[in-house]
């Protein structure tokens, strides 16, 4: 029998808002095993790994490493005990070189002096040994996401960890990069490492992993060996029912172009052209999806349309009005609603009540004000209607938003933005990190509002399934430009999208067709 590397036993964690993130969770990882930890968003995977990596404390439970009971004080302690983690959002310093990042914290050299040559040599040796090819002298800022991940892996491996945690490693990768990662992971497995692979993509799990622990609502809902894995069993364990695709695709009846983006560019602080001469439009009644590897200018486009970021060049026209020189409030009044990618920073004030959060964009709206005062009655009714219509689970409208779950916070934001009277919705990662139920509710709403009310939606998402299922027209961004357009999304698959996202294939302007 394989040697047991890691064992977690009876882990229970309750957050200070009373949310039970983990309840009595146990699982083991053996030497030379890739163990999948799967479950919906919010099922408790990340919390469990944070406990293992010393980022969070748990109230009950034990952790054993190679049979010895351990307590992880902090990440440094965890690494010293042989547990390394590659975070979903990389923890690298962009302005340092690959070698400097790899040795950060264990810098070689006499005394306080940093020996760069040895650092580069260390990186090269590790790179050779683990077959993770990187250029030690490149700046992290300049390398691709796939390479950054390799740097993260090297960072953990060079510190001599035996157990590697990978938190949704494929979320930011193209299908081709995913292939490469899998080869590397299998390689590590051969060398006796234990790998915990967190994901909610079933096909990946079935391909890569030897066993899987499924979490649901913070509890273990099942343990499966590779031979018993099939999509149906897994998905039933994950959601407690079989997944049905909620959106019935039908043809959009489009109207005129209500959002026009013409020759827009954005240059960032360090002079890098993030968005490069982009032109496209969104017509009434359609959902335009933008896919692409993160960091290729999608986010900047959404921020420029909503006025959070000033554009360097070009023009954006909303319902016939050019937005140059207008402030965010004026842009909102032209008919823009915005679901931001970063819901805790932009989307809400977490210490304030649901009521105040819903009111934030209506403080100058004649519907809800009486002179200098807020019309409490009208607003109260509106808030109650929102809570009911959008099924926000809460005790009262006065509860602070931080008490709600991620999905319910997103519902508050969606409720506010959808009912704001706008006819264009900029939905930037609207379902990232939230549960399937809320995600499908948001999908249905986006679909309903375009079909029934003639809204135009710009959907930016890194979830390829989401953009493929929802979009009437699909754009792919690469290097700040529109690399491809698909007008019939039923004929698209992720392999095809990946080729354009990586720049392996290119579309000519004729192939791309009209961008409106």
């Amino acid at each position: 029998m394989a040697k047991e590397l890691l064992k977690m036993e009876g882990i229970t964690k309750i957050y200070s808002n009373g949310f039970m993130a983990n309840k009595d969770i146990s699982f083991t990882v053996n030497e030379g095993e890739i163990h999948a930890l799967i479950g919906e968003n919010g099922a408790g995977k990340t919390t469990l790994m944070k406990i293992l990596f010393g980022l969070e404390d748990c109230q009950q439970g034990k952790i054993f490493i190679e049979g010895k009971e351990c307590h992880m004080e902090n990440p440094l302690d965890a690494i010293a005990k042989g547990v390394g983690m590659v975070h979903q959002h990389f923890m690298l310093v962009p302005n340092l070189t690959v070698a400097e990042n790899v040795v950060l914290g264990i810098e070689p050299g006499p005394g306080q002096i940093f020996d760069k040559k040895t650092a580069i040599k260390m990186t090269e040796e590790a790179s050779e040994k683990f077959q993770l090819k990187v250029d030690p002298n490149a700046l992290v800022r300049d390398i691709s996401v796939g390479l950054k991940q390799k740097v993260e892996l090297l960072k953990a491996l060079i510190r001599g960890v035996k157990v590697l945690i990978l938190d949704e490693p494929t979320a930011v990768l193209t299908p081709q990069e995913v292939r490469e990662l899998f080869v590397q992971l299998k390689n590590l497995k051969e060398n006796g490492y234990g790998i915990i692979f967190i994901s909610h993509k079933l096909d990946e799990v079935m391909e890569l992993c030897d066993s899987a622990t499924v979490l649901r609502h913070g509890r273990v809902s099942g343990f499966i060996k590779r031979e018993d894995m099939d999509e149906k069993t897994l998905s039933r364990l994950i959601v407690g029912r079989d997944i049905v695709n909620s959106i019935e695709k039908d043809d959009a009846s489009t109207g005129e172009t209500i959002l026009k983006i013409r020759n827009v560019s954005y240059v960032d602080d360090i002079g890098k052209k993030i968005v490069n001469d982009v032109s496209f439009g969104v017509r009434a009644g359609e959902i335009v999806g933008i896919a692409g590897v993160e960091g290729n200018g999608q986010n900047e486009i959404s921020e420029m349309i909503t006025g959070l970021l000033p554009m360097t060049e070009g023009s954006i026209v909303i319902n016939g009005t050019e937005i140059k020189g207008l402030n965010i409030n004026q842009i909102r009044k032209l008919g823009i609603a915005h679901i931001s990618e970063d819901r805790m920073t932009y989307g809400c004030a977490q210490d304030m009540s649901i009521y105040d959060n819903l009111a934030s964009i209506y403080l100058d709206n004649p519907k809800f004000i009486k002179g200098a005062f807020i019309d409490q009655k009208a607003l109260s009714k509106y808030v109650k209607d929102c809570i009911e219509e959008f099924e926000i689970a809460c005790d009262s409208e006065k509860s602070p938003v931080r008490m709600l779950s991620g999905g319910n916070i997103q519902k508050v934001i969606v409720a506010r933005e959808f009912t704001s009277g706008a006819n264009i919705i900029i939905a930037n990662q609207p379902t990232r990190g939230i549960d399937v139920g809320t995600a499908s509710l948001i999908h249905k709403l986006l679909h309903k509002y375009t079909r029934e009310k003639g809204f135009g939606v710009l959907l930016i998402s890194s979830d390829l399934n989401e953009v493929m299922n929802l979009s009437d027209r699909l754009l792919i961004m690469r290097n700040g430009k529109i690399a491809a357009q698909f007008t019939d999304t039923s004929k698209v698959n992720d392999e095809m999208m990946g080729e354009y996202m990586l720049g392996i294939k290119k579309m000519t302007e004729e192939e791309r067709g009209e961008l409106y």
């Binding site: 309750i14 200070s16 009373g18 039970m20 909503t306 977490q350 210490d351 934030s360 005062f373 008490m403």
Partner: protein, 368 residues
Amino acid sequence: MKKVQRVEAIFELLRVVLGLLVAYCITLVLIVITSDVSAGEVIQNFVLGPFTTPRRFGQLMGKFIPYVLGGCGMCFIYGCGRFNLIGEGIVNFAPAVACIVLFNTPIFDGIPWILGVAILLIICCAVGGALAMVPAIGREKLKVSEMVTSIIMNYMLLYLSLWLLKMFFTDRGQAFLCSPMYPDNGKFFQLISGTNLHAGIFISIIGWVIACLMYDRMRIGTKIRICGSNGMFAKYSGLNTTKVILIAQLIGGLYAGAAACVDAFGMYTRYQYSTLTNIGMDALIVAVIARKKPIYIPLAAFVLAYVRTSAVVLNLSSNIPIEFVNMMQAVLILFIAAQNFLKKSKDKVIYKMSMENEKQEKKGEVVA
């Protein structure tokens, strides 16, 4: 989740009450240890002192009146996330400007009391509002720390007020630096004669009601709270954050001006400030104790006024220096401002509660 909210509320209250008690006990023990005063005497003077005579209680109320106004103002400044401490300088400077009008112009000749007091109040508020805008605009337009500017300005304003006093309205017949006696239509009369409880309290009550309405019911209050809670969210929602933050500090300045007015023309018979009064800083303490909520300001103002008066009473009736008691305030603020005080016990209670919920749910399932 409803239960969790209740636990949070209970612990919030506990934190303040316990913080007060701990600070209080520490001071008492220290006083008893370090001085030759007996414990009984300390308790009599320090704990009960302010309530023993009408005069002492009036003294407490005399402090309470400006604290309420200043505290309300600080709620707005602090609530929008800026630390503009200009209130201190306003307390000295705004009444000095009002005194010039009072003594050097004929406006006050023969006008009724209510009008005279209204003019004083308007001048003080206008000066306060204008002064508060200096550090505020510096911060929003030039990115200079409003805290540094306002603290420096406080000293400037102190010496400017003294200069105004010496140049324009000093009473040369007195042995100390002061203005002539205020005329009857230029001061707040005593409600109970022989005490410091003066008519300024009506201004405090009105000011407090307006502050509560503004903070919770009016658009500007909500905007200020949103800006203070999450500036990025405010921007995203289309609020003009710069404008809102400036307005918040303007309101704070107006309130500081009102506090200056009731203190200078209520507590004293002449303008006689020769040092900073500390009312501006106390207002910040009041706002911190009240957790930035105007509704709790009177309670917080009373607590602070009580502590301050006890210190004076103890000082007068024994040999314990007043500075000693001021230390207690430091301990008090430490406990109240400390977000994580009692956090572990709170987390434990929440943990237990969740586990019990869990059990009950399970029982329910079994029955079902």
